[in-house]
Symmetry: C2
Subunit: 482 residues, 2 copies
């Protein structure tokens, strides 16, 4: 991807400007590495623009349709993504799933309309896909930052013990039941059974949090328990992956690694919040001193990106850092203003994440015409039931009276991306058979797509509390308070 | 950059989650292409996060310092970029300028703190740089969309004839004077002289528009003349490049290409505005029908990105499409709301563009210790004078009374990225000597960095009109109206 440009040192924004023109002239003097780099860079931009148009149209069409039939818009974004993605239209596909440039309708479109040559199609395709994937990752970071901002640290600490129980039960129950069931009911050997069991553990915080925000329940007690449990669950998921991978590697559990992970996660989360609270008066002071545009938003994002980087560098997840940053800044008196400013930013970044999740999901594993899928379907049915029941029971461990226990359990159902990491690792290590892998993917698809409407349904049962925040008032016609 | 992942079809967001962990375990079973892809993807995200932190810190430190000494903040962003870029700290450097991964301090930082291996440093570096370059390009697209939204189509049409004269004189005068001077004063042969003369023609619309917005003069008559002229100037610049490149190729001017360019530019600008105005009631109706979050912003961006893509596909520039989209939407009754929502988005995207422009500018061409720079310095002095005088006189072609003619001329001074395209094309074609190329770069640096403070200075001379819009009220302490 390195386009050597003989100009050396200075091409200041040239990629933005006047470059498509080169392709038009086809000047032989210009047909150097320089031209290739410049022209490609312009075509990559064109590809990214078309991809964003496709993503935004998919997210809005899907979201609006879901809102009209009273389903959470995020489900529509996932389905919209699946429609434009690898399962159907092949507009938004990614090289890491084995797709080639020639499979991409956007690449074909660029070849027809923007003069993309078949020779440079592969590199334009991979660069454009990489950029969109990165924008999606920034999208989920910004989503978790926003969720952190909307959360209430005191409430989270208050419900902490209950969230911890929900998280631990929600990891142990599906893991134990899933592994045991696969071994005893399906005669699958221990290592693949443990991998599949482990894939049942981690809740997808992004999908749950987005639905909670959409129905205006994020700051309810149930919402905060779910968020707290999902964050802990994420950490536990990383630890379970460490245990499982270590088991597959040496047949033993490397205790030191596990201890290292537990300590670093605890130190990071507690440390980020303590140091953040200590620093937050300086943050407010600094922002008040600043005179240029964007002072609050950029200073907040600098803080969020630094914590995201640290979380990622110590082998946690970037989104945990973004969440911690949001949580700390929610305590400052700039939080309202920041929430308002982050809203349009989240509006343009977050749909990229959800549409990409949908686009990357290959629904062909659901096709019963493929033999391994048929075998997988039976295992999948078992995994799906275990996945749902294993999380729903967690709500009933809660001891605080007056809580919608079912809602907490349902909120923990979606597995999303994390389960797929397990499927990927298991498949790469050769531990998982094709049918077990397909079953895990079916489990992830089902829990991810079922959870949003279920969550809306169970929250309907209980009248609204008055103090909840309408993060998304436009879509919460049925949960109201406005 | 294609990371083949054996999981096939489904890695839904895995790159975001739990991946850094793989590097920590160093599991031999995982040491496949899958691991490499997943781990790299996580490291690329880490690199992008660190780069964004560096960019935002550079933009805010530079911007705040400039605001305090009463200079336009955008100058601070350019200087901040130069400080973190290839000229000084080597934090933010780009492969297309010949930099290697080993030169990048961010890559070193990732190696030290996030477990980046020297083997994957090159690909992480190029992917991260490519993403940042693309975010910068999206930044200037969003800037021009915002400028379009802030502009007034009726006023632009009213001042159109004057803007056209300013644009034409501003292209012809520096081109003729520069080429003639280089041939007769410096005995440079015709082709390089024409290239250098052509590099003097095109105004950088981004820098001028940003400064006008910062001092609250965008919607003044002078501001609209400058914007209108800069847009036409951009189109003329593309045509001049076509003429020059065609001249260098065949010794003749390919009339058909030139005519094609002129017609497509005219059809695009007029067509986009006419069709856009025809469609805008449907746009408003559609947005009013929508119920999900971000409906206005995303629908507007879909429109802007489509026009940007078309402009880029017909060999104009993407930014012209974004400007046209902003101009059309400014006419709708959603324009205020849209302006408010685009503000935070511009706040996080636009600084990436200006800091990258600064970071990519190699100030070492200004070092007189290098022989070719010494020769270049004399030619540069001539080019700088020609560049400034050639644009300043354009203001005095204006016939409308009561206009700050000097301000219009000064507003056309910055050359920015466009001049460097000429230097790059000339250098790649072998037409330019090293010293002439260095002189062009010095001219671009000087006009880009001189214009913002000059523009603020000349606008100070005249009292404010009451009806101007404060796009950036925080930084306009001295131009006020608030």
């Amino acid at each position: 991807m390195i386009f050597v440009q003989p100009i050396a040192e200075i091409t200041v924004g040239t990629s933005v400007l006047a470059q498509p023109f080169f392709s038009f002239l086809n000047h032989p003097l210009l047909a150097t590495a320089n031209e290739t780099g410049a022209e490609q860079s312009s075509l990559i931009l064109a590809g990214v623009l078309v991809s964003l148009v496709v993503i935004y149209i998919a997210s809005k069409v899907g979201g609006e349709l879901c809102a009209r039939i009273n389903l959470p818009p995020v489900l529509g974004e996932l389905v919209g993504g699946a429609v434009v993605g690898v399962s159907a239209l092949h507009l938004l596909i990614f090289p890491e799933s084995g797709s080639q440039a020639a499979d991409s309708l956007i690449v074909k479109f660029l070849e027809t309309t923007a003069g993309l040559t078949p020779e440079s199609a592969a590199s334009v395709f991979s660069a454009q896909s990489e950029t969109i994937s990165l924008l999606a990752e920034l999208g989920v970071i910004i989503l978790l930052f926003e969720i952190g901002l909307e959360s209430d640290l005191k409430e989270l600490i208050r419900v902490g013990p209950q969230a911890a129980v929900v998280a631990v039960v929600g990891v142990v129950a599906p893991f134990a039941a899933g592994t045991a069931g696969l071994i005893y009911l399906f005669n699958i050997s221990a290592v693949p059974a443990i991998f599949a069991g482990a894939a049942l553990t981690a809740t997808s915080i992004g999908i749950t949090a987005k639905v909670l925000a959409e129905i205006g329940r994020l700051s309810s007690t149930e919402g905060q328990i779910i968020i707290g449990a999902a964050v802990l669950d994420d950490v536990l998921g990383i630890i379970v992956l460490a245990v499982v991978a270590s088991l597959a590697k040496t047949g033993e559990i490397e205790i030191t690694n596990i201890i290292y992970l537990i300590i670093s996660a605890a130190v990071f989360l507690v440390g980020a919040i303590l140091i953040g609270r200590f620093l937050s008066p300086y943050f407010v002071g600094l922002v008040n001193e600043m005179k240029t545009r964007g002072q609050l938003l950029l200073t907040a994002l600098i803080f969020a990106f630094i914590l995201s980087y640290i979380a990622s560098a110590i082998h946690l997840e970037a989104i945990l850092g973004a969440f911690a940053a949001g949580l700390v800044l929610a305590e400052t008196d700039k939080s309202r203003e920041l929430e308002e400013q982050i809203l349009p930013v989240a509006d343009i970044f977050v749909p990229i994440f959800f549409v990409c999740v949908g686009a990357k999901t290959d629904l062909s594993v659901l096709n019963p015409a493929v033999p391994s899928n048929r075998e997988g379907l039976i295992i999948a049915a078992f995994l799906i039931v275990t996945a749902i029941v294993g999380k729903v029971i967690t709500g009933f461990t809660l001891w605080q009276p007056g809580i919608n226990k079912l809602a907490v359990g349902v909120g923990m159902i979606p597995r999303g991306e994390v389960g797929l990491v397990f499927a990927g690792v298991g498949s790469a290590s050769g531990a998982l058979s094709e049918s077990t892998e397909a079953a895990i993917i079916m489990m992830v698809i089902s829990t991810t797509f079922i959870a949003p409407p279920l969550l809306r349904l169970v929250f309907k049962d209980k009248p609204d509390s008055a103090d909840e925040i309408q993060l998304d008032s436009a879509t919460s016609q049925d949960s109201s308070s406005n």
